[in-house]
């Protein structure tokens, strides 16, 4: 047998074996595993579409009366930045969806809102990413301050 025929034979054998093994593995694993795939999100919920009205004279929201105070309401974290400025950011970390509630899994240190799961950090003023692994900033909602009432504009 010539060298070229030997080569062709070996090549055919290789292709048949290779395709058989690779195809079998991919087909078997993907068929089995695809059928068993699922995703079920839990808390927290996405921000709603109704404006949030927060009265800082009430016990529930009185932490927002002073700069540095923060509270998680519905799908947002509301942060009092200064006497005349507040921010509202989505409370769902854009990395893996962890809750950024500052009284639970999140932490506020200076101007940073930190996720307790994997350490991503966001600017408390505008939600921009300050440190990964998150790649995308938090959605920010405008907040109006009138006297003791903060209104988060969700619409």
């Amino acid at each position: 047998m010539k060298n070229s025929e030997l080569f062709d034979s070996a090549r055919r054998e290789f292709i048949v074996k290779g395709l058989g093994v690779a195809g079998g593995l991919v087909l078997a694993s993907s068929t089995f595993f695809s059928a068993c795939e699922f995703t079920e999100f839990k808390s927290p919920s996405e921000p709603g579409e109704t404006n949030l009205v927060l009265d800082t004279t009430t016990e529930q929201y009185n932490v927002l009366a002073a700069p540095g105070g923060a509270v998680a309401v519905a799908g947002v974290v509301v942060i009092r930045l200064s006497p005349d400025r507040a921010s509202a950011l989505s409370r769902i970390c854009t990395h893996q969806g962890c809750d950024l509630d500052p009284n639970d899994n999140g932490s506020i240190v200076g101007d940073r809102l930190r996720c307790g799961c994997h350490g991503s950090e966001f600017n408390t003023g505008n939600g921009d990413v300050l440190k990964g692994p998150a790649q995308v900033g938090l959605r920010s909602y405008p907040v109006e301050i009138r006297g003791n009432v903060l209104t988060v504009i969700m619409e």
């Binding site: 093994v21 893996q96 962890c98």
Partner: protein, 360 residues
């Protein structure tokens, strides 16, 4: 026994393989604690491990190298590329992404003295991960080894999976490096004592912990690796710690291996911190149990069950179950199909993933 000869030197950089081979990491790796860069013996022993042998195929020219030397006998090279298909991100959409693409070089200045360097072409995701590695590995005596430069502090045991809870949750990520030095002393074949001093800079950057110039991180541990060759059993008992400003981490690992067949490893890590703002959790307990079974030399079944629980201002519990295969389709080409189930306070999900790993 040909199989034993191959497996005993090929993949022992990982404890799982060390348990099924009875070999030590330094049998094949430039780094005494394992790693991708192989010595000539390590490279030689793995070059034929594959379901498909390319010798008589059109791929033969690609496998014609007689060693991993480059230009000169004491200059060696290698690389490690990993690409994965998995669901990720907040939306958990399936994505194909590069995990790492790292070429290595090592220069053997003289016997048992290596200069080593690598560069990762994939952008690191976490602040503690570094693109460069540069280190000196030196074994002046048979029972004493030394490592210095940009290295990953020795803690716990190595895994070839970036998502193992005892590494991921403890922030010991792949490509995590610190400037430091480590000393290894092995008074007996089955006993190794390790001690190291490191800068805490990169780990602190990830944790956002302020450090002062005099801060140091110290670590150490003891590894027992007794063998029973008559019964074909190998054992592992390991304890280690890592101390950093306000953070303490310690771990215990125990394992048993049936030579050439199976391994069973239990890995426990506790991480405590009292740094305000670092984490809402002041203590995390992480447990991982893994089992492997070699169906063929180039086909390994793997299972892993894990749980991480955190206590502090809030409480968290995460669980993960991984079932998959390691398939060495060709020498230096590995395919890793896996089924992963994960349960966190935010989501419960199950997905299949696949990783392509090309190394040399």
């Amino acid at each position: 026994m040909i199989f034993l000869g191959v497996s005993a030197t090929e993949l022992a950089g990982l404890p799982r393989f060390a348990l099924t081979s009875g070999a030590t990491c330094s049998s094949c790796h430039v780094n005494v604690t394992g790693g991708a860069m192989r010595t000539e013996g390590g490279w030689f022993s793995i070059r034929n491990v594959g379901l498909i042998q390319p010798r008589n195929t059109f791929l033969a020219p690609l496998y014609g190298a007689k060693s991993n030397a480059l230009f000169a006998k004491n200059l060696r090279w290698g690389f490690d590329m990993r690409v994965q298909v998995a669901k990720r991100g907040r939306e958990l959409k399936r994505d194909v992404f590069a995990m790492q693409a790292v070429p290595y070089l090592s220069f053997e200045v003289r016997e048992n003295l290596y200069l080593y360097g690598s560069f990762n072409f994939v952008e690191p995701l976490f602040p503690s991960q570094q693109r460069f590695t540069a280190a000196v590995f030196y074994r002046p005596l048979e029972k004493v080894a030394f490592k210095a430069g940009f290295i990953q502090p020795k803690f716990g045991i190595r895994y070839d999976d970036h998502t193992v809870f005892t590494r991921q949750q403890a922030q010991l990520r792949p490509m995590y490096q610190e400037l430091g030095m480590e000393l290894y002393v092995s008074p007996r074949d089955w006993l190794t004592i390790t001690g190291g001093v490191y800068s805490p800079e990169h780990r602190a950057a990830e944790s956002n912990v302020p450090i002062n110039e005099s801060s140091v991180m110290i670590g150490g541990g003891v590894d027992f690796r007794p063998m029973d060759w008559e019964k074909g059993l190998s054992y592992l008992l390991s304890g280690s710690f890592l101390l950093q400003d306000g953070q303490t981490m310690y771990g215990v690992q125990a394992g048993i291996g049936l030579i050439d067949e199976a391994s069973f490893i239990v890995d426990y890590v506790r991480w405590e911190n009292d740094v305000e703002g670092l984490s809402p959790l002041s203590r995390s307990d992480i447990l991982s149990v893994s089992v492997s079974y070699q169906l063929l030399e180039s086909l390994v079944l793997e299972m892993r069950a894990e749980q991480a629980t955190g206590k502090g201002r809030s409480e968290r519990r995460e669980r993960q179950l991984v079932l998959g295969f390691q398939v060495f389709v060709l020498p230096f080409v590995e395919l890793r199909p896996e089924y992963r189930w994960r349960d966190t306070p935010e989501v419960q999900m199950a997905q299949y993933t696949a990783q392509l790993h090309i190394f040399y």
